[in-house]
Amino acid sequence: MMEYIPLNFPFLAAALLVGISFYILIFKRNLIKLIMGIGMLASGVNLFLVALGYRAGGNAPIYTDVPEGPMVLPVPQALTLTSIVINVAVLALMLTMVILIYRHTGSLDSEKSRKMKG
């Protein structure tokens, strides 16, 4: 049982990142910390995707001057690149909106800066 931990270490790290980000999203009230939590959630999911493609002893999936042996899967790497680009756009949009919320309400607390409820 103990020998599975170094084998599965990337997956444990991804689970840890996702867990910490859930803690941040639930308990932290500052809007900037919320955005950091979403960035950490994105990192956890991206790490999970890249770690899925690893094959033991594999080389990079490039055909030029490749040594003998298996290659790691290239598809999760493409998925991760797409996901990183989408998350950059989302984080930029969220930060812009936090700037405008601060200008309108003067507070960065998620409870004090809300205007709608019920």
Partner: protein, 111 residues
Amino acid sequence: MIESPSGFWGPVVWIIAASVALLIAYFIQRRGEKAYKKGVQSETFLMGNPKLSEGETHIRAHNIYWGFFEGLKKYYVPTITAHTGIINDHLIWLIASVAIVIIILFVAGGI
């Protein structure tokens, strides 16, 4: 016309039937009261009360259905306080739902 397990619904027949009924009602109304003077008998009867402005006689939205809300106070007060509007509470509901649905699916799949 659409069919359902225990009946059917045909709107064309319904429209024809409803227009015949409305036509009959219109002809009954045309034979109406001969001594009706337009304008005199449709004014509000105030019985000596002062005439209020239009803004005061129009009933506003938060006063309508007051009795309904008073009667269902036990349901409404917790529900409205649950809709806080704080983004952290929305995410608590999300993570709690994932946990509950996973537990339900495991228990039902195991049995």
